[in-house]
Amino acid sequence: MAKIAIDPICRIEGHLRIEAQVEGGKVVDAWAANTMFRGIEIILKGRDPRDAWVFAQRI
């Protein structure tokens, strides 16, 4: 029984961490954690709705 953490997961966009419990050569439990905060929802408050797409188009 061993617990491993892969952080960062490479060859993706952004930051992802995976923790996994491995038993008998197989994953028996796993946790996915995004280690980066994204605050677009907060940034958009109070702005002109016609501008929202510019802020939000890549998320």
């Binding site: 966009e13 952004g14 109070g46 929202a52």
Partner: protein, 498 residues
């Protein structure tokens, strides 16, 4: 965009619909190929092993699966020399950071060399084909020609400065190149590689619930359900029934996420009343492990009817397949036949990879169809591109709310907006990687990555390439990535793990 158009009830002109389809379509094609070769292939392809390949045998292999022109022994010898120079310099560059020589790599050296050659070719190809977005969107990424009510790119056959017959012909040529590479390189490589990894049809099955909002609208109605890839939900891997999508059934939990709701951690919220109150309670870095029995991620946990849902190409293709989409069904059935597996194989890591290829091909085939629609409108004298009736905020109601559905290459994307006195009162995005990368919810249900990993073999704890295979099969996009800086310039969040 669509959430605002829904809130203000603005219907866009047909030309805007078509141009949006074209931009989205080429983005699917480019994104999926880049994912396959540059983000995912190295989980299956051992670059170092390619050095041992016989270029003549590689040529025979390549010619046996495709009539793509770059297939001579001399060509593969050249690629091999390039790779050798890389390895001998000790600077692996783009090929650094992988588990070369791991026993889970199954391809013969020749297949590795072929895939490595196409990895390099795809780099050039993707730069070329995304010119379609650069033309229609002014640049890539972050297209600049969108506009609430339509698009900000003129359509006029009599203007040099507008989309005209000449630009349509130019785009059409690029679309041909896009499709040719998908047909002659991507799909044959996908099938060849998959045939060595068929056991991966037995791993990575995931939550078994699939969400597709539908993509590529066929008409201009707001939030139309009439789209080339259909809208729908599949529950519990049951392909005999496609359920309708009701956006009011989408709720987000923060039980295991670094946020708080006034109602507490057991509560879930629909995005219209969603809140983004961050509250980091995790360990101070550097740390060995997160406190996974408490809060452990910056992603919320969205649920549909309290169920975790998978989003992405596999969801779209399964919903299309189960809805009887003619072309999707043909291509999926032919892929299953070539790999000699049944539809149940789709619910897997391999199925996710295959569905992305199927979708790329079917989408590349649609690019000329949309171009023809645009040309036909122009021929009829319809140059309308923007509906400006409600551009002026004085025409808006005092309060309005709306939602917009879209399928990004990575999956179901929903935006919800509340507008008050001409300003955004609340805006919530539930993005594809929120669905797929979600942590556990109040009931303790795992998210799609977490579920898919269970049962994944790990031969070497220090080189868990198998875990990468399943996680990468979802094409994670955690980015959506902006650090928030508060008014004093201090970073609000600073999470760094070495």
């Amino acid at each position: 965009m669509r959430s605002v158009e829904d809130a203000l009830q603005i219907e866009i002109p047909d030309n805007a619909r078509i141009i949006r389809n074209l931009i989205s379509g080429i983005q699917y094609v480019q994104d999926h190929v880049v994912h396959f070769y540059h983000l995912h292939a190295l989980d299956w392809v051992d670059i170092v092993s390619a050095l041992k390949a016989d270029p003549a045998k590689t040529s025979t292999l390549a010619q046996s699966i495709s009539d793509w022109h770059n297939s001579s022994a001399a060509y593969f010898k050249g690629v091999q020399n390039k790779l050798k120079a890389f390895v001998e310099s000790g600077q692996l560059g783009i090929f650094a950071n992988a588990y070369w020589g791991h026993p889970a790599y199954k391809l013969p050296p020749e297949a590795n060399l072929m895939a490595a050659a196409h990895y390099l070719e795809a780099l050039d190809w993707q730069r070329e084909v995304i010119k379609i977005q650069a033309l229609l969107g002014a640049k890539n990424p972050h297209a600049q020609t969108y506009l609430v009510g339509g698009m900000a790119i003129p359509v006029d056959p009599n203007s040099q400065n507008a989309l005209n017959a000449g630009s349509i012909a130019f785009i059409s040529e690029i679309a041909k190149k896009a499709r040719e590479f998908v047909e002659k390189v991507y799909i044959p490589d996908l099938l060849a590689i998959a045939s060595f990894y068929k056991e991966w049809a037995g791993y990575g099955s995931g939550v078994g619930n699939f969400l597709s909002y539908g993509q590529f609208p066929n008409d201009t109605r707001i939030n139309t359900e009439n789209s080339y890839f259909p809208r729908g939900i599949i529950k519990h891997k049951d392909l005999s029934k496609v359920h309708p999508v009701d956006h009011t059934k989408i709720m987000e939990y923060v039980t295991r996420s670094w946020y708080e709701y006034p109602e507490g951690d057991a509560a879930s919220k629909h995005p219209w009343s969603g809140e983004t109150n961050f509250k980091y309670t995790g360990p101070k870095p550097p740390y060995e492990f997160l406190e996974t029995d408490k809060k452990y991620s910056w992603i919320k946990a969205p649920r549909y009817e309290d169920m975790p849902m998978e989003a992405g190409p596999l969801s779209r293709m399964l919903v299309a397949y189960a809805s009887g989409h003619k072309r999707v069904k043909e291509v999926i059935d032919s892929v299953l036949k070539k790999l000699n597996v049944g539809p149940e194989a789709l619910f897997s890591t391999l199925g996710r990879v295959a569905a992305r290829g199927v979708e790329t091909l079917v989408t590349a085939e649609m690019l000329p169809v949309w171009l023809d629609e645009l040309a036909a409108n122009m021929k009829r004298g319809d140059y309308r591109i923007h509906n400006g009736e409600k551009w002026d905020p004085s025409t808006w109601p005092k309060e309005a709310k709306g939602y917009g559905f879209y399928e990004a290459p990575r999956g179901a994307l929903g935006h919800w907006i509340k507008i008050k006195d001409g300003k955004i009162e609340n805006y919530q995005c539930v993005v594809p990687s929120t669905w797929n990368g979600s942590p556990r919810d109040a009931k303790g249900q795992r998210g799609p990555y977490e579920t898919a990993l269970i049962g994944t073999p790990v031969a070497d704890l220090n080189q868990p390439v198998e875990i990468l295979r399943t996680v990468h099969s979802f094409d994670p996009c955690m980015a959506c990535a902006v650090h928030v800086i508060d008014a004093t310039g201090k970073e609000v969040t600073r999470i760094r793990v070495v």
